[in-house]
Amino acid sequence: MSIERSLKQYELDRREAVKLAAKLLLASGTTSPRVGGVGECTIHIIDDECEIDELAHKVEALAEENKAWKMFKRDAAMLRDADAVLVITSLRCLTDPADINCNMCGRLTCEYYRKVERIPAGPGVAFTGPLCVFRANNMAYAIDAVIQQARAMGIDYGVFWSAGVAAMRMKIVPRDAGFCVAVAISVTEKSPFRDVPVKYDEMNERTMNDRIIKRLWPQFRSIYS
């Protein structure tokens, strides 16, 4: 095997590892607990470079919609470095409350909850709440199952609700999805989701495309973050 061939093979194998890992993470997320034992979550893998970029683009656009979402720009920079994104959805939290009158949404009973007016969808609104909190909590189990499995396999991960909102806006998740969160994964030597310096959306591996900077930046990033 030539040197060129071995390097190319390494890159191909790395990409293959990402695809396999994403599927195993999906399996772990799918089998995690659900309240009342009622299934409702779906997990969608996005592992195409261009599709991840589209998602990151949407996340960036969302940052302009709401003053509280300025950190979405930083999220977009991180997402662009991700190898795959798993979008986790909750399909019942918007349309099918759990009927156990838990009051976590603050409406005392599910009957009152059904009559509450929802926030209309529009710019600056991520989720058209109120959601059935009891149902949406299933997301927590799915997210953590993905995280636990990623940790067990030694895969770097980052959790982004911004990408979940972007996926909902892009209509690439089922229509009933009322709540979405994304877990991005990376199989690289340096996790793109850790050691994130200030102004990361402006100064990152993509924007600092200069040979000397490229040589020095990784170490600078490690020290000053």
Binding site: C105, G129, F134, A140, Y141, W161, V181
Partner: protein
């Protein structure tokens, strides 16, 4: 060398496992990089109280009654119950709308609704962080080979009995080192006749030939 009794070792192992579960939960992933979760390990006496209270809710919630009755059996063998709780108000400033209010400030100013099970309205992301902690504990228990199940009913009973202080929303994880897994397939609580009767009452169409042919 002294011979150590199996039951003593099981109890010691369980105690250690519960401590490790607490560590896993405490260090689990959180949204907004904040760690405000409270967690307690409930003793046998309190578990008895929880069991009685949950069972007494039979008319209101069959699910709570089921778990209360089950907990009375569970405490006969080595077991533990971890109750997790958090405050309902948001300090995240995500302004996401999931709670039904446009901003976190609106949610924090909204009228608090009191009930036996939780105080609402609560921040969705705080809830998710809380349940991630519960899942981290459950996940470790699973890997350690403990019998394990996540219970919201028992946590709500603990909340109503004020066993866990200064929290608004709760969840719980029960673990056990019983001889067989006590948490799933709990068929011993009803007879075949009772099951058949309940099933035919709840799902009358299942045994019907075609719609309209009652007798």
């Amino acid at each position: 060398m002294a011979v150590k009794n199996m039951n003593d070792m099981l109890q010691d192992g369980l105690d250690r496992a519960v401590e490790l579960m607490m560590v896993a939960a405490h260090n689990s992933y959180r949204f907004g990089n904040r760690n405000t979760i409270t967690c307690v390990s409930v003793g046998k006496e309190e578990m008895e109280q929880i069991a009685e209270f949950a069972y007494s809710l039979g008319d209101m919630s069959p699910l709570a009654a089921r778990d209360g009755r089950f907990l009375r059996d569970l405490i006969k063998e080595p077991c533990a119950l971890l109750v997790f709780g958090d405050r309902r108000k948001s300090d995240l400033n995500f302004n996401c709308g999931a709670c039904g209010y446009r901003t976190c400030a609106e949610l924090n100013k909204a009228e608090e609704m009191e009930s036996l099970t939780a105080r609402g309205p609560s921040c969705q992301f705080k809830n998710i962080s809380l349940n991630i902690a519960a899942n981290a504990a459950a996940s470790l228990a699973w890997r350690l080979g403990l019998h394990c199940r996540v219970f919201s009913t028992l946590a709500m009973a603990a909340f109503a009995l004020q066993i866990i202080p200064d929290v608004d929303v709760v969840t719980s994880v029960a673990v056990s080192t019983a001889r067989v897994d006590p948490f799933f397939d709990r068929h011993k609580f009803w007879t075949q006749e009772h099951w058949d009767e309940t099933f035919s009452r709840e799902f009358p169409t299942f045994t019907r030939g075609f719609i309209g042919a009652i007798e």
